[in-house]
């Protein structure tokens, strides 16, 4: 059915796949901004944006559902951001001022390349069923690549703060650089136990995110266990660090609407500002995706219930297309829940003060993650020698 696709040259296929992922990610990030407004509204007992509708569409029956969900508001916002006047203040460093929002998109969109979205099953010649990843690249060092590229995201914030040539953005930029470096340490250390476990003798030696999911979809009690049950502390540290890395409340120090006006993007408006916004949501999506892959079994529907059990049950294991779609749906569902969780936490926890953020990062999370790593290293070593 799709043979013609595999006959295309490799570079064209790569370009097409990349474009497809970006075309999915961009509206997804935009939809997150509307989800944010709706969830905020519901938590505060309001209906949220529910009025905007394109007048020439009102005749379609049932369109009111989309109106109530604010979908047209989203389109209107997008239109506004695109066509609104975009002034550049006179006191800024123009080149870097324009460069910063563009730079913010680069890590946001490239990290997606390393995230597998799902798996599909194909039957090999000898009759065995093999799972293959649905991803742009399945690098051996996938997770490290995501961390590496994700860590470049801080430059756009620093650059924006510095180029704005104004007090509050500058403070926001400085805070961003310090905060992101601090929490990157705990984040990286927190995933090490997972990879110690995955790379233990007898397991596939790899840093690939796909293989991490595969080790969570084995049969049996230990094989089907999600790592969130096996390593709750790791998952917790990763989650907290993820909040800090994506500048979400309660760690929104670089933005700090309360004390820094708008932090690094105070001087930005219109399209450039919306680029920062989309980049932040893209980071959230990718970060939640990584969390799901590492700790929540990726596209496996339930702990101890791998995807293949479900596909066997409804008889689509042999169908790459349907099994792949099911996997993607399950994965995106989990990611969607995490996006919701981000918003949920936003309206639950009060913001930290800046010194508290630093204290939490260096004096609490970092020792905790090191202790966690040592404990798991010892336990795994003990299990091996037993």
């Amino acid at each position: 059915m799709f043979d013609f696709y595999f006959e295309l040259p490799l570079w064209l296929r790569l370009v097409l796949q990349g474009t497809a992922v970006i075309l999915v990610l961009f509206p997804l990030a935009a939809a997150c901004s509307m989800a944010e407004r709706k969830v905020s509204a519901w938590i505060q007992g309001r209906p949220g944006p529910n009025r905007t509708i394109a007048p020439f569409l009102t005749w379609i029956p049932g369109i009111q559902i989309f109106q109530k969900l604010g979908l047209f508001q989203l389109a209107a916002d997008g239109g506004k951001f695109t066509f609104k006047e975009d002034p550049i203040p006179g006191h800024v460093n123009k080149f870097y001022f324009v460069l910063a929002p563009i730079a913010s998109m680069i890590p946001a969109l490239t990290t997606v390349a390393f995230v597998p979205f799902g798996a599909y099953f194909t039957q090999l010649a000898d009759g065995t069923i093999q799972a293959l990843p649905i991803a742009l690249t399945n690098l051996d060092v996938g997770l490290l690549a995501v961390f590496a590229l994700g860590s470049l995201g801080v430059y756009s914030l620093i650059l924006a703060g510095w180029a704005s040539n104004s007090k509050y953005p500058f403070l926001g930029g400085v805070r961003a650089s310090a905060q992101l470096i601090s929490y990157e340490l705990s984040m990286t250390l927190s995933v090490l136990p997972v990879f110690l476990w995955v790379n233990a003798p007898g397991m596939p030696g790899t840093l690939s995110l796909f293989d991490v999911v595969q080790t969570q979809s084995q049969p049996g009690f230990w094989g089907g266990m999600w790592y969130v049950f096996l390593m709750p502390v790791s998952a917790f540290i990763f989650l907290v660090a993820l909040f800090a890395e994506t500048n979400r409340q309660p760690f929104d120090m670089p933005e700090s609407e309360a004390d820094l006006v708008g932090g690094f993007h105070t001087e930005y408006g219109a399209f450039k500002w919306s680029l920062f916004f989309v980049a932040e949501y893209a980071h959230m999506i990718v970060g939640s995706g990584i969390f799901c892959l590492l700790f929540l079994g990726g596209w496996n529907p339930l702990p101890w219930v791998p995807l293949q059990t479900v596909t066997d049950l409804i008889g689509i294991t042999g169908n790459p297309l349907l099994s792949g779609l099911l996997a993607i749906t399950l994965f995106l569902g989990k990611v969607g829940f995490f996006i919701f969780f981000f918003m949920w936490v936003r309206w639950t926890l009060p913001r930290f003060r800046y010194d508290q953020v630093m204290k939490l990062g260096w004096q609490k999370l970092l020792p905790l993650s090191i202790a966690n790593l040592i404990v798991y290293a010892l336990v795994i070593a003990w299990l091996e020698t037993r």
Partner: protein
């Protein structure tokens, strides 16, 4: 195609490296360093050292350059060099740099180097690195770990405020 990519990355890296040296603004220098490192990471990928490329970006581009930028902003320096370069400085440093290039290039060309492009790729897997690091290079690994610890202690001591010391000025 890898030929073209090599030239692209090489030119990009060298141009950005020149940007580091010649930019008047320290922030612009740091950003050029960042781009230059990304170029080097691209070269590593061409050399099939994916792990090293990723580590270079993670450690250097992600942390070190961010630290540079943080310090530049913390010290809030206006511009880069306050004084103009003297002619003597420019002349002598160009001379020294030129001599170094000549020396290194002649050294690189004179040796009988194995440049067989059909050598199979070895050890771009994590496991290969790990085996090397924890068998042959175990002592260096421990020494480097110790060095990191000392560096951390040194930085903590350095960044403390010393009380009761008079300024040397």
């Amino acid at each position: 195609m890898s030929d073209v990519l090599f030239h692209l990355f090489a030119i990009f890296t060298v141009a950005c490296a020149l940007g580091v040296v010649f930019n008047k603004n320290a922030v612009a220098s740091a950003l050029c360093l960042l781009l230059s490192l990304v170029g080097v990471a691209g070269l590593f990928v061409l050399l099939d050292a994916f792990l090293l490329a990723v580590l270079l970006v993670l450690v250097y581009a992600g942390a070190v350059v961010a630290l540079f930028l943080f310090i530049i902003m913390l010290l809030d320096m206006q511009g880069g060099d306050r004084k103009k370069f003297t002619k003597a400085t420019i002349f002598s440093s160009t001379l020294a740099g030129g001599l170094l290039v000549t020396g290194l290039v002649s050294f690189a060309t004179r040796g009988q180097l194995e440049t067989d492009p059909t050598v199979p790729v070895v050890g771009n897997t994590l496991r290969a690195y790990a085996e090397q690091l924890f068998t042959v290079y175990l002592l260096p690994v421990q020494i480097v770990g110790f060095l990191l610890l000392i560096a951390m202690l040194g930085v903590i001591v350095l960044s403390k405020k010393f009380e009761g010391l008079d300024d040397i000025k």
